[in-house]
Symmetry: C2
Subunit: 297 residues, 2 copies
């Protein structure tokens, strides 16, 4: 037999030889995925031409990344986040029809079982931070209000920490709440102005960001999961456009349509109504849900 | 500012936005490497269009791979080996001038400090397996013998295990030896016919191979590191072309030029000279070293 008939590996035919081994794969999708993975991996190696030492450094980086993971820390997700892969997967899986609100990453700090609150409730349980009043509507793509939409909201406090990162310091379920819209599709609640915060950066991904001259910060935001019968669930944030990191989110989560104006408001009558001490921040932001089957771009 | 000026991430501009963040990288090579890694990674994701669940499965596979590693097990190297990346890096770093012997992967079973033996010594210390006589020459690319070339050889036994995998069963340094050529550049020693063996397949990489319908075996081979003053060090194997896995090495290490004929020999006079019991196997294989600076293709 000739070398090519035996399928011996060469620098030139490496992609064909390696992908050719998968012809008996037990799963057609896995075979398809691995064909792309192997091809792109070999293309990258051929373009980079790593030394043996560089290749070993890459192996050891991936090893450290795996070994940093435990039940509450997922360093490979951080790697995916900081290389824009998580947002890319999110974008691919959430192509919205024109006019629908855009999604962004879920993040690691969502907690199931947050209390369902009356509209208008204050989700800040420790009175720390600058008062914030948030309101808006949940609409369909024709502009009609959606009743019985459920908003699950959560945010970091004014020091950039979620409650689950400061157990014993923040009250349980601080800055979390679930709200349900009425017939007018309106929502409103009280909170505090969130602050930017760093993703966990004491591991290999933090070192990578440092070597790349990148900061680890995410600009200030509020998280939303919005569900309504017959509509696609929307997982998204709203961001403060005046945040110093708004154009350099470490995980690339910001989209133009997710910028919400944070307005400083002097209105003693409303402040009193909201039980605020004085001037407060105010955000008005509508969310538009796509109907199931309305997806695509 | 417009969205593109702020550098917000979209499915379309993802590669430019993510690579654009590295403009302050502390190391020009790292910046260059990451530009390729990010581009190929995003190209792969865009082509695969993974679901969120598939993406999570990939994250968890990489995590398990990292967590399988310890001081004697390197699962990410196995992953690199089985996807042909290790051989590709080897090929890129060992482009040889015409006529020079080709390299292949070092593998994890080399041990420093094997005993230097007299030419002709038997490296099999436990008399297990079928006798093998190996000889050949170490030459330069003009066909001249290289004196004082040092051969470091090692191999698995006839059950497919290296001594370090069977401590207490095989003698220390079984099937390992270091030989030094004389003026004629010749080498010869006695050993046993090696057998194919599986790479460690009780971890995530073994599961991957199984799902891909691939076996974990490496065809029978002997390892060589050959060093000589003024020449490029050669790290290579010779393979038995009649091995059942010769065309499907799990790590893609086989090259046409590394096939060595294993000849069954009936020669009572030579058998007695070698202290063999009867018929034996015989291999003759020359190695050609490139001079330092003679590299390239």
């Amino acid at each position: 037999m000739e070398a090519h008939e035996r399928g011996f590996f060469t620098e030139e035919n490496s992609i064909e030889v390696v992908t050719g081994r998968n012809k008996n794969a037990k799963d057609a999708r896995l075979k398809q995925v691995m064909e792309v993975v192997i091809r792109k991996l070999h293309e990258a190696v051929k373009e980079i031409e790593p030394t043996q030492e560089e290749w070993l450094q890459a192996i050891l980086f991936l090893t450290r990344t795996g070994q940093m993971c435990n039940e509450w820390r997922q360093e490979f997700i951080l790697l995916s986040d900081t290389l824009g892969v998580s947002m890319l997967v999110d974008a691919i899986n959430n192509r919205k029809p024109s006019g629908a609100s855009e999604s962004t990453v879920l993040g690691p700090f969502h907690v199931k079982g947050a209390p369902e609150l009356e509209m208008g409730a204050n989700i800040c349980l420790d009175q720390k931070g600058e008062d914030l009043f948030i309101q808006g509507r949940i609409l369909d793509t024709s502009g009609n209000p959606i009743a019985d939409a459920v908003l699950d909201v959560w945010q970091a406090n004014d020091e950039g920490f979620y409650d689950v990162q400061q157990q014993g310091i923040q009250p349980d379920f601080n800055l979390r709440g679930v709200f349900r819209t009425g017939l007018d599709g309106r929502y409103w609640f009280r909170a505090v102005k969130p602050k930017y915060y760093p993703i966990p950066n004491d591991g290999p991904v933090g070192q990578m960001l440092d070597h790349l001259g990148r900061h680890p910060n995410r600009p200030a935001h509020l998280h939303y999961i919005i569900k309504a019968g017959g509509f696609e669930t929307l997982i998204t944030h709203i961001f403060d456009p005046d945040d110093p990191y708004i154009s350099s989110d470490a995980v690339f989560g910001v989209k133009e349509s997710l910028l919400a104006e944070f307005k400083r408001t002097h209105d003693p009558v409303r402040a009193k109504e909201y039980d605020f001490e004085g001037d407060f921040w105010e955000v008005e932001h509508d969310f538009v849900l796509a109907r199931v089957g309305e997806r695509g771009r």
